[in-house]
Symmetry: C2
């Protein structure tokens, strides 16, 4: 998967706190995956209240990694997000990197806009590379965690979802995953939404989705997948309320430096090449499936 087919778009979904100053392994991989073009790479700062600071950090990092043409996308209102000329420039771009901040702010500004559609079109039709870190990672999928205050019993409590950007349909993503001990919370989201594959991404780590081809994990941490599709669940009454009883939830832990190909092969950075389990293979196929993206686009007059 280091030789890329020109058509397939890529998602680089980063668990936050990626190295932006030294080895920059996650950002370096993102840059490697950008299609060759004279068009710009955009840094989308719509999630944050400090767009200038984020822009300075990333324009410096991407410059050091050899990106010649990098531009900020400081979207602060929906009018901007529905600017057709800007959307057209994004459609032609090599890719977009979404900074951290608050995923609700990002979606409030971008959800259902021409710009959002242009990003998905660039990914699907033009092989652009879409990156997102922290809040920008949560926003990648069609369903987005809206956790509210911390819950003690997150693994059995209902977790609210919101509509995300739709680059992946049947997925819910959590970031800063090991660092903030969010396994229980993601399990809760999957328990109540077994249609969704739960993806937990550690800091300084990315899940890369090669649309139609496979997935890889890169960086210094790991990616956790929670699969509730074969689970059994029922509700029982405990005290005042009903709680879920779950069995047969599948859990997979994917460390960095490994590629999981849609054809069932695993490619570690070392020389070992092994087949993956049937369940993991099925998950990988679904994750990178070319149809696992929202292709309905806004029609604005």
């Amino acid at each position: 998967m280091t030789k890329e087919s020109p058509q397939g778009g890529r998602l680089v979904i980063v668990g936050g706190a990626e190295d932006r100053e030294n080895g920059k392994s996650v950002l370096r991989r993102f840059v490697e995956l950008l299609p060759a073009s004279q068009a710009p790479l955009f840094v989308l700062t719509a999630a944050t209240q400090e767009p200038q600071a984020h822009w300075q950090t990333y324009s410096k990092a991407f410059g050091e990694l050899g990106v010649e043409h990098c531009e900020p996308l400081h979207i602060e209102g929906r009018e901007q997000a529905n600017d057709r000329e800007l959307a057209d420039r994004v459609l032609e771009s090599r890719g977009v990197y979404m900074t951290g901040g608050d995923q609700k702010r990002l979606l409030a500004r971008l959800g259902g806009s021409l710009l959002c559609d242009a990003m998905r079109r660039a990914y699907v039709e033009r092989g652009a590379c879409i990156g997102g870190t922290s809040a920008g990672a949560s926003a990648v999928s069609a369903y987005m965690l809206d956790p509210g205050p911390p819950q003690v019993h997150a693994e059995r409590d209902e977790i609210s979802l919101r509509a995300g950007l739709g680059f992946l349909l049947d997925v819910v993503i959590d970031q800063h995953f090991s660092e903030r001990q969010r396994l229980g919370r993601l399990l809760g989201a999957v328990a109540h939404n077994p249609k969704l594959i739960g993806i937990g991404i550690d800091e300084d780590t990315a899940l890369v989705v090669h649309r139609g081809h496979g997935c890889e994990v890169t960086g210094s941490g790991a990616v956790t997948l929670i699969d509730g599709r074969a689970m059994n669940s029922s509700f029982v009454r405990a005290g005042e309320r009903e709680v879920a009883q779950l069995s047969d939830v599948g859990l997979h832990l994917l460390p960095a430096c490994v590629s999981y190909r849609a054809d069932g092969r695993i490619e570690p950075a070392e020389d070992e090449v092994r087949p993956m389990s049937a369940r993991l293979h099925e998950l990988v196929r679904q994750l990178c499936s070319a149809s696992n993206v929202d292709e309905s686009y806004v029609e604005l007059g």
Copy 2:
């Protein structure tokens, strides 16, 4: 499982912070499961540095729950733990309840002693009821977590184990489970020790093992089971070190008020009765298997 067979011993494994003053549902269930006898119930305080305070709390609680004969077992050294007369009294007892504290202290004082053997014999041969909360819960199994300082990437780091009391052989138990977000840590223990079933018990909640008959969950929380026996794992090099890649870890979440019988039936407190999944059934059978206990006893001259 509310009608108890006279032979089968029971383990009441409590995730800590059980209600000792008001409804006392967990302690009430423990008392219900004590075999009828004029013999005492012992409160073992060997895990704590405040044995008197724990004894006062539990003697009051058990008294209020109708236990007529309750005695402290303030074991502070191995000589006491190898006192044959005391061990014989424990063998004849209705049961032992182990307080919280530090499981290492508990094992340093009791591991491999006549008293420890007497407790296991009372459980296996005389149908006694053995309870343990917090550190007392961790100590129940043959393998005991020795977590050391908190780990960010617990789910992929090696977790040290120590030898526990051996009431369950193929098990590792963690307590205060949801409250202290320990799913990652327990997953790490199972990932590196796939022979062991990981059991995470919430506060004010007990996993009750009816030896040979089944399990139940009681209290206000839930019990999480992690099953790594069918998992695939391999090690890949990420940066400086090898990290585990796991797939097909099984996860089950069992809320309170449910019994899981060895014959495959689930008995909610409500009227619904359903079969359980094959994997969960197999886990329950193994957990409550009559042979899932260390029956090797110390020979002291």
